[in-house]
Symmetry: C2
Subunit: 472 residues, 2 copies
Amino acid sequence: PSFIEQSIAIIMEDVVKKATDVTEKVCEWRSPEQLKELLDLELTDGGESESKILQHCRDAIRYSIKTTHPRFFNQLYAGMEPYSMVASFITEALKPSLYTYEVAPVFTLIEDAVLRKMMEMIGWEEGGDGIFNAGGSMSNMYAVNLARYHHYPHIKELGLSAAPRLVIFTSRECHYSISKAAALLGVGTKNVYVVGKMISSALEEQIKTAKSEGAVPFMVNATAGTTVLGAFDPIEEIADICEKYNLWLHVDACWGGAALMSQKHKHLLKGIHRANSVAWNPHKMLMACLQCSAFLVRDKTHLLQRCHSAQASYLFQQDKFYDVSYDTGDKSVQCSRKPDAFKFWLMWKALGTRELEQRVDRALAMARYLAQEVEKREGFRLLMDPEYANVCFWYIPPSLRNLSDGPEFWKKLHTVAPVIKERMMKKGSMMVGYQPHGDKANFFRMIIISPQVSKQDMDFVLDEIHNLGKDL
Amino acid sequence: PSFIEQSIAIIMEDVVKKATDVTEKVCEWRSPEQLKELLDLELTDGGESESKILQHCRDAIRYSIKTTHPRFFNQLYAGMEPYSMVASFITEALKPSLYTYEVAPVFTLIEDAVLRKMMEMIGWEEGGDGIFNAGGSMSNMYAVNLARYHHYPHIKELGLSAAPRLVIFTSRECHYSISKAAALLGVGTKNVYVVGKMISSALEEQIKTAKSEGAVPFMVNATAGTTVLGAFDPIEEIADICEKYNLWLHVDACWGGAALMSQKHKHLLKGIHRANSVAWNPHKMLMACLQCSAFLVRDKTHLLQRCHSAQASYLFQQDKFYDVSYDTGDKSVQCSRKPDAFKFWLMWKALGTRELEQRVDRALAMARYLAQEVEKREGFRLLMDPEYANVCFWYIPPSLRNLSDGPEFWKKLHTVAPVIKERMMKKGSMMVGYQPHGDKANFFRMIIISPQVSKQDMDFVLDEIHNLGKDL
């Protein structure tokens, strides 16, 4: 067999077959120092034999985290999706880049078809525009740029030095990329005004404050599915305020957008059709392979293209022999761009909307089951009822159970999750994230996504946390 | 065989084996309207059978451009690189995301090793910092943001509205992403001052002009390997001016950086070690799979992290059980980020620096061969002697050969390349780009990269252009 064939055999054996096997380890933990010794990282003048390269492949796989393993609950993505994975392999082998129809005809049309269908789910009956890009942070950045361009198109040419101070409004729970976007785009992180709880009265008050300072509000970011708690801002209420004050409404539905697939849960995003733009990552709850991240705009006046275009003559020749409106590259701030939509399209084709809906419903039901179990069990305390697939809770080891609920208790409890995390990583039995949040001490955040996950897995997680932490 | 196995068999047969076969077509051209009919794009409630999904895979491959085909000369990337492709497959199957060591231990260390080696090739003896990201346009954007943060760190918080008018200097031939970055970052495209030919006297004059206007110069972009002509700005000269005026020097070596691998050609980038930052895409001349794009910074004071950090508590907990300096995510403006360095590392391991050097030397020798052939042949005219792997030339059909070299001649010649391009695409025999440039009428731009390309292929290109265009 050729080198490629041998490598693929390794991938099939060590990644595809093993990773979804619950009896395998989620990770084979090594510290950075240990791992540097195990991997031979150095790049030298001479090449290495194929057998050595195959060994590097095996090692890279062995010491990598198995994010597709049924007991990986650490991030907002998880699970093994064979159709999407195959689509990834196809595009990696074909090496298309999505700037012109000429170089990526199939994937240009597929991106368009997927975007249209996603806009239909959002409820934009007249369509709109959009683009897949390198992650939700990029989408949120696009939103800020489009909102700004929509209100002040001359900033593209003239810059912000002569512009008024522009202000973005968002809830405290929003993703950190809103702040990163404000920094990168020259808006400034201090000009992101945080609304404690995103309700219309609090938002309106902040808008009035900004105006009284002589600043210019231009955009509100609402989050549909916050990163830590999985909470949803009330979009309908926020849309009313945005209309009243003529502000761009962006909905960061990177995580929560998947609920649009579900008749049962789409009420969480009620009013999203009134948004000017939406970020939605099918690589999260819907399990498309990383990265698969869409930015969608309701505008039908080529705002996306006008905002980002630079009209490079070597790519976007206007005397081509086909309809150049299919050249999407000038909508993007990237030049070469991967055909990520295909990874979603192929699995959507195979599963149909109904199966995607069932997966979402199943994951959310599983999250509710876990929350109930947390409430039942001694030594576990739920942070809040889950609105979505995030289940946040504390584990209280027996030694702390008789302490009164004061600063001393929380200070001690704060140190528990990091130790349990260390132990689960070193054992390789599962991966669950933890974090502090506002004034809350470190708690676990379980994320439930994959249809490969069962109630037994949920029970296992709680048993395992207790086993790993009961002596603390 | 399972669905995954059947899909992989199709990829091996239809992509890997066929694509590098010179007797296969580079493309099976269909117009957008035709292709929409051929592909069944619609997404519906019900799922489709595996056999239908396999057919979608075959169709997607069939009508895609074979960018790995030996006669694909259309972009700044080309060719089939088996080691890199295998690395892609591994990471697509493993789904790592590069924000924390915890989730991507192997690829975090590999990224670090590759960045260090690239910095060594640049000549930064004391190292520096860097990050792989989603394309060269992103790297150039990082450069603008870092340069700005270095000079005016308070802009991150306060924004640009109270800042002076900042000015970037670049040559006319630079990539359009400099302009896109200026727009996105709120600098403004009009504050990108274009230096006609990037020599020190012209640059210094522009700097003085900006200052006399009350604007504040902060950055110079030098291009090492321009997109259309493959030209190199004189870095050493520019570095002198940057030192004199305390300006950040960024070198966009996305395309030309590969010459650093070659003892024979690295003089093209003489002085690059004096740059503050460098963009270099191994997915171009060095043939790593798309995307593989590095941004490198000479700074050793964590500027990259300080500039971009937002300290998300759910990812970058400071009470982790390992050395959190290995968590690279807060250096990035992305959140999830792909382990692109691995695609370069594995092939570099297999080939060694010497083989990479030979590939670069061979491609540049082949470009020179083609240029000589262009000069020899009747009806072909070279635009300029190639400095790198771009060979730019006109084809003059017999009907135009007796016209005198005036506006009428150029007007007619301008229409020739688009027709030849249409004919080569419809025939599927090869793909070569064309464009107008400044006041120059449409000309062909041949890009030579792949070691799979021979002198016969070069001769074929010229023969084929003549055959396709001799009646025009």
